[in-house]
């Protein structure tokens, strides 16, 4: 990937990934950094795995058990990508 990894472009790409796994009861506009993926955005735990796989593909990184355990909020996930892709 040639583009520089910044907080903003990670956020844009991550929101796009998360959006495709949102249930109908949650509006895309409700996604923000402080939202918990499971508790607030109501993403099923089986779909968390799909989100992680999409993130790995998108940013060309490997996410392990330890990292997935820390992906609680949207901002946690952005921080994790920034750390792994650095």
């Amino acid at each position: 990937m040639n583009m520089t990894i910044t907080q903003e472009n990670v956020k844009t790409d991550l929101l796009e990934i998360i959006r495709s796994y949102l249930s109908e009861e949650i509006e895309a506009s409700e996604i923000s950094g402080d939202k918990h993926l499971i508790n607030d955005l109501k993403i099923n735990s089986a779909h968390i795995v799909d989100i992680v796989l999409d993130i790995e593909d998108k940013f060309d990184i490997m996410i392990d058990d330890d990292a997935i355990g820390k992906m609680n909020t949207v901002q946690d996930s952005i921080d994790m990508v920034l750390k792994k892709a650095a």
Binding site: A46, V49, V52, L53, D65, I68
Partner: protein, 149 residues
């Protein structure tokens, strides 16, 4: 050669919802197993009276028990195998032909990924004459038994 009877013995299902007769092959990437539809399967009473046809939902279950659960147990650590409790999480499957009492089904499952306890596979179901009766992708997760309650 092992007949994988240990893997079958770890399945949490019991009659009349146990749909694995035999496992032909298990490897890191695929599972092949067989199930013969009995003449007196419980669901034939209603599906359909006088005209027994295996429901698509049951075909999906047969495919999942062999293609996801048996493979998932095999891919689990040996010490975890006896305690696997599976949960079916998604299925996108085409049903292509009817299945009737006496049909012998061969299920072939190819792993797409097994990550973080979630197994996703491409699964195909064929009759003895080679007719493909269903195919698609399905996934499931392994949950710890104490999280069920």
């Amino acid at each position: 050669m092992s007949n994988y009877s240990d893997i079958i013995s770890f399945l949490p299902y019991k009659k009349p919802f146990h749909f694995v007769d035999e496992l032909v092959e298990l490897s890191d990437n695929q599972a092949i197993g067989k199930y013969r539809i009995k003449e007196n399967e419980y669901y034939f009473e209603g599906h359909f009276p006088g005209d027994p046809i295996v429901p698509g939902a049951i075909l999906g279950e047969i495919m999942a028990q062999i293609g996801l659960v048996c493979l998932g147990i095999y891919l689990s650590k040996p010490e975890e195998r006896p305690h696997v409790m599976p949960a079916f999480t998604s299925m996108e499957t085409d049903f292509l032909s009817f299945v009737k009492p006496g049909d012998l089904l061969t299920i072939q499952s190819e792993k797409i990924y097994f990550r973080f306890g979630k197994l996703k596979c491409r699964v195909s179901c064929k009759k003895e004459d080679g007719t493909e009766v269903a195919k698609g992708s399905m996934s499931g997760i392994i949950i710890k038994q104490n999280k069920l309650n």
